[in-house]
């Protein structure tokens, strides 16, 4: 079939669903993606009128996790009396997972939400493409068959799609939102359980501790502490992030290696059992830092230790919100 045709079909049915929702007044506002102002970009958009539906697009550059806009509440998504508007969200799998998980954490009510399900086939790794083509400007990006075609002033390059999507997208098992509630319409998928052998981690796991530390610190070394990763993450909704606290000051805010590493590792720990592997953090990073290894490793530990995957079950509590007396403690206590 080809990526281009797939996307066009998805876009068409997504717009149909959106149009109907607005027409039948089932939602007050639809959050989706719109065309970006330069080739390797898309921009989230909030539309309230049927005639704006054609502004909604779908392609493989839709990297922002739209669930971000729901928590904490923003004035634009509240009615004049301060009540929640009914919201439709264009949801690829990870956006749906994020919405489900936020509902489990009691941050939003799925009754006010309609997930317009989309079978996502992956988000293009912009930073990797930019690094590969060097300093040249991209004039056009399109797809032909299963290749991405990137054109510029004096060049044209082909990139195999499956290789140039985000690392997390390559191993994604939840491409459409989980159909765990009536909130999910359009294309959704049943997710009784996720089968994941985490084979992509075998290389990393075979390294020594020093090598792993080297890899992680190397990746993080260019961090500018802009917090785009934190702000793009739907799970980072704390009123006061741990790095901003000053009674006491837990960690430094500078760009010293120790401060950078601590920020990212502690934030990763706060994601344990909560991260939905959307990769928005890596997609938005201006310096191209890819946190996928840390994300995947955390996911694996949580799955193995607690048999939990975030965002696929509205009933099961995440490990950090739950406790059972029979739980294994061998990593904490010495055997007698």
């Amino acid at each position: 079939m080809g990526i281009e045709t797939d996307n066009q079909e998805i876009e068409k049915s997504m717009r149909e669903v959106a149009r109907n929702l607005l027409k039948e007044k089932e939602v007050d506002v639809i959050i989706g993606y719109s065309k970006g102002t330069f080739p390797l970009s898309t921009s989230p958009i909030m539309i309230k009128k049927e005639e704006e539906v054609d502004k909604l697009i779908w392609n493989n550059l839709c990297y922002v996790n739209l669930a971000k806009y729901l928590v904490p509440k923003i004035p634009q998504l509240l009615d004049p009396e301060g009540g929640d508007l009914k919201i439709g969200i264009v949801s690829k799998g990870c956006v749906g997972r994020a919405l489900v998980h936020l509902a489990v954490e009691k941050q939003l009510n799925l009754e006010n939400i309609k997930m317009i399900g989309i079978p996502c086939n992956g988000v293009v790794n912009r930073r990797r493409i930019e690094k590969d083509i060097g300093e040249k400007e991209v004039f056009e990006i399109s797809a032909s068959g299963n290749d991405l075609i990137v054109k510029g002033k004096d060049f044209e390059q082909k990139f195999p799609f499956d290789e140039y999507i985000n690392e997390l997208c390559k191993v994604c098992k939840v491409k459409s939102p989980p159909s765990v509630s009536e909130a999910c319409i359009g294309e959704c998928q049943e997710v009784p359980s996720i089968e994941d052998d985490f084979g992509d981690l075998s290389d990393y796991e075979s390294k020594t501790t020093e090598e792993k530390w080297q890899e992680i610190t190397d990746t993080l070394s260019v961090c500018t502490r802009c917090y785009a990763c934190r702000e793009a993450c739907p799970m980072c909704y704390c009123n006061l992030c741990f790095v901003d606290q000053n009674k006491p000051i837990w960690f430094g805010k500078t760009t010293d290696m120790s401060d950078i590493v601590i920020f990212h590792l502690v934030r990763a720990m706060h994601m344990a059992g909560r991260c939905v592997a959307c990769g928005a953090c890596s997609s938005v990073c201006p310096m191209g830092i890819d946190l996928n290894k840390i994300t995947r490793k955390l996911e694996k530990i949580v799955k193995e230790r607690y048999d939990f995957t975030s965002g696929i079950d509205t009933e099961k509590l995440p490990p950090m919100m739950d406790f059972e007396l029979e739980e294994a403690e061998e990593f904490m206590l010495e055997e007698d």
Binding site: M46, Q76, E135, F139, S221, A232, G252, M287
Partner: protein, 352 residues
Amino acid sequence: MEEKLLMKDQIAKLYDELAKDYSFFAPIKEKGNIVFKKASNPEEIELDYFNSKVPPKEVLFPKMEVLFEYSLDEKDVEIKERTDLDEKRLIFGIRPCDAHSFVLLENFFDFGEFKDEIFLKKRENTTLIGMGCNSPKSTCFCTSLEGHPFQRDDLDVMLVDLGDKYLVESVTEKGKELVQKLSWLTEATKADVEKAQDLSIQAEESFQTHLDFSNVAKTLDPNFDHPIWEEISEICIGCGTCSFLCPTCTCFDVIDETDEYNNRGRRIRIWDTCQSCQYTLHTSGHNPRNSCIERCRNRILHKFSYYPTNYNLIGCVGCGRCVQLCPVNNDLRTIIEKINKIEDKKEEKISA
């Protein structure tokens, strides 16, 4: 001819000579990103670049800077001031837009009764060897702000990439002295100078973004409470990337970092952003800028209204970094166009 030529295979020679007297900052590739760093050898210098991700303001106004150090002793405190402000720096390959940002930065830090000696001293001891932009990107708009891809005014020495060599032009006295020291540079020919002029015209004509800033400040002034700010800030996630990677943003936070075990520490300043929700949070809990709407508005007003009012300058150089790197593509150019339309709508209403 006054102009000289620097062959591309002479960069190492240039570096070896200048690095003796200057800390040589140049575009360097770090994990795939171009940044201005101190080159420890000429091979590190990346000549094939568009512009750095992080603006060269970080050479003089780094992400983290020590204001002073202190040692604590029972009932005594000793303060140690910076002694390294006389270090001579050279920034090689800075683009005209970023060089213009240095003018804005200097103006800001020098303004009023209190002068920021730390920045100003460093600026005084810095020489700029700039590079004209042969291929501006579609997101560049320096020409809309009275800038030009080949603007020499804010540089000490100007280089133009002619393919296998650079045309070298001294602009200031400082620049002239520097070029004279490099006595081994060959003379440029008339053809070289003409080629540079052609490249300049080509570059100017290649601009795709043309924005009208002539009325922006006037329009912004009376429209502080206009509903358009809700629309403009709708998708903003308040991350701060725009401020951090903006060559003219200067807001900072001040922190005391103390090593309690060794009774010493340092007071530092780190980059901060008005987009942070804590930026204006009072200890009492009151926050004058409580949502993205106010914060987004403040940044735009600061650059395009308060800067003109206070300093008679526009606080933007058109480098396009915020456009390229905003995670949600909240394009500044679109915002300016929306602002320009506010006045138009008002006029429509009057004539109707």
